[in-house]
């Protein structure tokens, strides 16, 4: 029923310590979550002292430095290193963000790095997002129109219609917002979460889509949509500066509008 304590296998222990090499000038301490499925051991926090003058400015630079030069067993996702792929989403100093966009110098004290919260862990900083991806797929994030497209070109939108998609097409699906949402932690099996609802509204708001009603029907559910409690963590944490809470609010407004 109500779980008040972490499961026994989730208690985080103390890990290894990797001191900075002699002669380092500007040393910062990184505490990084480590867990491997290879044995039955609990997760631990490993401590790495890094001379940040010798590496690039971002947290991702520090992680890459650790993997290349200090501890090759550290596992994390990364690809574009410029905030467009969403791979390096993780929890840095208590906030979900992209490691490649988070400057080390903006943070005080030890730098805590954890995987995205409340998701199953694949290894270390890699969380399993299969469920979240499937939820995204369940809202059918593609254009559905029954009218035939013009024979001589694509479906057109006015500049005003196109402007309604601003603030939504920019989402890179890093799921920082979804995994920051307490409501998603509590009911992630039924609540779709802010990233998926933002994507759902992106298609509801698209003037070329002809299935707004079906989309609203599919979302009208005590959990799928209405488990949103307007906690606003999603908007606060979004590394792209988007506002999923506003998109969810718009979906609720449309649900009301068609009922009254």
């Amino acid at each position: 029923m109500v779980e008040l304590k972490l499961p026994r296998n989730s208690t985080v222990g103390k890990g290894q310590f990797f001191p900075a090499p002699a002669g380092s000038k500007n040393v910062r301490t990184f505490k990084i979550y480590r867990w491997t499925p290879d044995d039955d051991s609990n997760p631990v926090m490993d401590t790495y002292e890094i001379d940040i003058d010798s590496i690039g400015p971002m947290v991702l630079d520090a992680l890459i430095h650790i993997k290349n030069d200090v501890d090759p067993t550290l596992t994390f996702r990364r690809s574009c290193r410029e905030g467009i792929c969403g791979s390096c989403a993780m929890n840095i100093d208590g906030e979900n963000t992209l490691a490649c966009l988070k400057p080390v110098r903006d943070m005080q004290g030890d730098i805590l790095i954890n995987p995205l919260p409340h998701m199953p862990i694949v290894k270390d900083l890699v969380s399993n997002l299969d469920g979240a991806y499937a939820q995204l797929r369940s809202i059918e994030p593609w254009m559905k129109a029954d009218s035939a497209p013009p024979p001589d070109g694509e479906r057109l939108q006015s500049p005003e219609e196109r402007a309604k998609l601003d603030g939504m097409w920019e989402c890179i699906l890093c799921f920082c917002c979804t995994t920051s949402c307490p409501s998603y932690w509590w009911n992630g099996d039924r609540y779709l979460g802010p990233a998926t609802l933002l994507a759902a509204y992106r298609w509801i708001a698209d003037s070329r889509d002809e299935h707004q009603g079906d989309r609203l029907d599919a979302l009208e559910d005590t959990f799928k949509l209405y488990a949103c409690r307007t906690i606003m963590n999603c908007t606060q944490t979004c590394p792209k500066g988007l506002n999923p809470a506003k998109a969810i609010g718009r979906i609720k407004e449309l649900q009301v509008e068609r009922k009254l």
Partner: protein, 139 residues
């Protein structure tokens, strides 16, 4: 959600199947509207009630019963009681949705409905007794 977690049974159902689940319950909008309408209605009703209680503070039963016997006062009192417990029911449902999972979920929701319903009825009955009791006793 984790198929390999030792604390859960192994789930081989596809992620998409789990995400779609039982589909939409086609409810939630009415609950959302009622949550807000009842909250907004409670503002003037509670304000009126607080003012009346200050006015009647320290008065004897006869005076309070005469006040409660007036149709407008009795109506507003009944509306206050009904709206309060309706709002409580709607709000407690949300807490149950958030914190009570598994087999206990449905009974907990039912319990909230029954509990707030009975308390609301008790309140309404008390208003009726206050409003009609005197006349009935006299008659």
């Amino acid at each position: 959600m984790n198929a390999t977690s030792p604390t859960h049974h192994t789930v081989m159902r596809s992620q998409l199947g789990r995400a779609r689940g039982l589909g939409s319950g086609h409810s939630g909008t009415d609950h959302w509207i009622v949550e807000r309408v009842s909250a907004a209605s409670l503002l003037p009703l509670s304000g009126w009630f607080v003012i009346q209680m200050f006015r009647l503070g320290g008065e004897d039963y006869e005076k309070v019963a005469r006040w409660g016997g007036k149709p407008v006062n009795a109506t507003l009192l009944a509306a206050l009681v009904a709206t309060s417990f309706y709002h409580a029911e709607v709000g407690l449902q949300v807490i149950v949705d958030d914190y009570v999972h598994g087999k206990a979920h449905a009974p907990a929701k039912l319990l909230v409905k029954i509990g707030t319903g009975l308390l609301g009825l008790l309140g309404i009955f008390s208003v009726l007794k206050l409003a009609l009791g005197r006349t009935a006793a006299k008659g």
